[in-house]
């Protein structure tokens, strides 16, 4: 394989508006979309705004939509496209544009703060934590998340529904609730915090109707829907509709009220 000239359409603009701009640009063996964006910066559009860091699929900075599909630019090889194809690169649609391919992802940082942190167990000092590998496997899967926010971008609950944002944490942060809930030593329950209940009541788990769009775009291959959201839903539902749980919660509530 040798070099060729590819046709690109890149969205350029800012909060006031913008549009697709055409470029013809050289492509070499083994390159990824981010290489091409960098070549545009170096040769044709020095002020083209784009976020990136590691260029190795580890930091989750270079998220964008390539031909309409949310992807990491550093992990999208040019060889997946034909040479004739025009490649369209646009910013993440679910977040407000700052400039060109850079969006305001502040929504995610707001939501991150709303999930109560890990609660260390009382009386277990540093160095005394004992956990079996099989008990941490599931939470470790969720901790592979690189926070690229592609799942947040693609989730139809907020993708075209700005009005749902205040009530909905999105797949990434519902998964964070699941991760903490499945942590073998998290002591939230001992402090009166029921993580499953908050997933439903405070983080909008009910909005999710398990279409698995988030799982499909996850560059880390995390089974967000199957392993985090569905189990969280099942447990939230268990609590809500299990008559014993229901009765227990009533009794406890009454006794605290007394």
């Amino acid at each position: 394989m040798s070099s060729y000239e590819a046709r690109f359409k890149v969205w350029r603009g800012d909060v006031k508006g913008g549009g697709l701009e055409d470029f013809a640009v050289e492509v070499n063996d083994g390159e990824v979309v981010l290489d091409i964006i960098h070549r545009l910066q170096a040769t044709q559009a020095p002020d083209l705004a784009v976020r990136w860091n590691c260029k190795a699929g580890k930091c989750g900075s270079c998220s964008a939509e390539i031909n309409g599909r949310p992807r990491l630019m550093c992990m999208t090889r040019m060889s997946v496209f034909t040479r004739e194809e025009t490649i369209t690169v646009t910013p993440l649609r679910a977040f407000p544009v700052v400039r060109d391919l850079v969006t305001d992802v502040g929504f995610n940082y707001t939501k991150a703060r709303e999930v109560p942190a890990f609660v260390p167990p009382e009386g277990v000092g540093p160095g005394e934590y004992r956990m079996m590998q099989e008990d941490v496997d599931r939470s470790q899967e969720f901790r592979k998340c690189i926070e690229c926010f592609l799942c947040q971008d693609t989730c139809h609950v907020v993708r075209d529904h700005e009005e749902n944002k205040p009530a909905f944490a999105g797949p990434r942060f519902l998964m964070r609730v699941a991760e903490l809930d499945m942590h073998p030593l998290d002591a939230a329950a001992e402090t009166g915090l029921d993580r499953k209940k908050t997933a439903q009541d405070e983080h909008g788990l009910g909005y999710c109707n398990i279409t698995k769009c988030c799982t499909e775009v996850c560059p880390e291959g995390i089974k967000i829907t199957d392993n985090a959201l569905i189990p969280l839903k099942e447990r939230a539902v268990d609590r809500k509709y299990d008559p014993l749980v229901w009765l227990g919660s009533k009794i406890r509530r009454r006794s605290t009220a007394d």
Partner: protein
Amino acid sequence: MSVVDRQEWDVVVVGAGGAGLRAAIEARERGARTAVICKSLFGKAHTVMAEGGIAAAMANANEHDSWQVHFRDTMRGGKFLNQWRMAELHAKEAPQRVWELETWGALFDRTKDGRISQRNFGGHEYPRLAHVGDRTGLELIRTLQQKIVSLQQEDKRETGDYESRLKVFQECTVTRVLKDGSRVSGVFAYERETGRFFVLEAPAVVIATGGIGKSFKVTSNSWEYTGDGHALALLAGAPLLNMEFVQFHPTGMVWPPSVKGILVTESVRGDGGVLRNSDGKRFMFDYVPDVFKEKYAESEEEGDRWYEDPDNNRRPPELLPRDEVARAINSEVKAGRGSPHGGVFLDVSTRMPAEVIKRRLPSMYHQFKELADVDITAEPMEVGPTCHYVMGGIAVESDTAAARGVPGLFAAGEVAGGMHGSNRLGGNSLSDLLVFGRRAGRHAAEYATGLPDARPPVDDVQVDAAAAEALRPFSAEGPAPGEEDGRPPENPYTLHQELQQTMNDLVGIIRREGEMEQALEKLADLRVRARRAGVEGHRQFNPGWHLALDLRNMLLVSECVARAALERTESRGGHTREDHPTMDRKWRNINLLCGLTDPTGGLAATDPVRGQIALTRETTEPIRADLLALFDKEELVKYLAEEELYE
């Protein structure tokens, strides 16, 4: 009077990688109102790319491990040039720093009895690296990030504001440390998104900006690694230590060209991967240097037995310290025994079942599959050296992480020098971040909250000068003297590429006197041209402008590396001279300090001959007797000069 927005904080931490976040947590927990400034989004720092693990002598995997053994390994890895007190503190405190992460929610891989699992790594006598598959850095950064969030949640409950005591200014860049006389008074920064300038007034500043790899063409480092902290310290009057020592990680990807340099974790070798040349030979057996002869296996059989029975066999030479392996690969390729794309072969496919590879090295499997169409469970990887880490850095006091000569300035992590001597062992970086991040945060907080008199005021003149400096690329200078009119401004991207090529070719893994002199001339030329680096567009999220500003820092640190490398006429760790190929015991206790030729902090940008950096030599403090006693006399003879031995 300048109209730049100003805020008051007690401690400002520049950088939000492992060291910066650990420092910020400590400073806030000790009662200092703390601001963190980082160039990227919160949680994206270069630390996420650390793969192998955190070295700490917890003795979970081998009961014989202890801080003394870790200290010994660290000193050997650094060829005894390490600031020994730092190596001592590091080895002693690392286990506590790892355990503490568990109380903040970190989930490391486990041993059979439920403790933190530890893996083998180059230069470490025992399995010592706490890890999470091959994504340990991500776990570290996420844990620290989430700890910061939890502190902010506490502050919200108490004060109604998440950011009342601890605030992260993300996507902001610091361009100057401001001073009141000799003391720190704050920082000058711009917001990348808007281009807006602001000043954080603070008596204590912790620099935790990481490394300098973006000055080299083939590197495992991300765009942020432009030596900002090194340059900020120099410009503020603090010296840099031993900048000639740059680590080339032996195993970076070599193909395809666009991913050249991306890291292939040392865990591949720690877990059993072997290096072969084009003849299929495990060549590392030919490259065990004298100082390590007794500690490494002499046959493949012995090396292979070591993985199962480490007490009765010696480790395979693939696990020599990184500098040794990188040089060996370089020699094999030069001798014509390289792989098709100019590296050597790193093979796990014949050493472990496919399932084990996918479980233990998931990111590597993924990375090669996605980026190079190589299935590492079925075929070998092609790898070669890549610029990875700078051992040199800001000269600091070992116990307090205080930068020398500038009260109120502290430094931790890669940007600080000394800890790793001439070569860093894998796994010692993440532990370094935690140990010295915490120390820097603590001492910065104590300094800031214990000031006897009023806080140092910020000088308007300095703020105006910093603003003018930052705006310069928008009005790039006209023609140079004697040049014809209308010469266009320089393209910052082109200047950057030329700088990277220069450092790669002339001050790279193998160095020669003539080439380094040539490099200094080229750097002077680039410096003059960088004065005319111009940018298009406006200040809102403009990468061309950001790069034009980062160039100042890369040029400064590159000159430090080149000048110090030219001066040190021996080969040691991450500094290899073809014209002085052996280690010289006389250099063991010599540090090279870089300072600005113009101590007022003005840049001699237009004078190519003079250069910006002056070197001074310094003899280091003798290693404390009880620490020396941890080694055999026969070993010390190889490193220490005669007179050091008989003191």
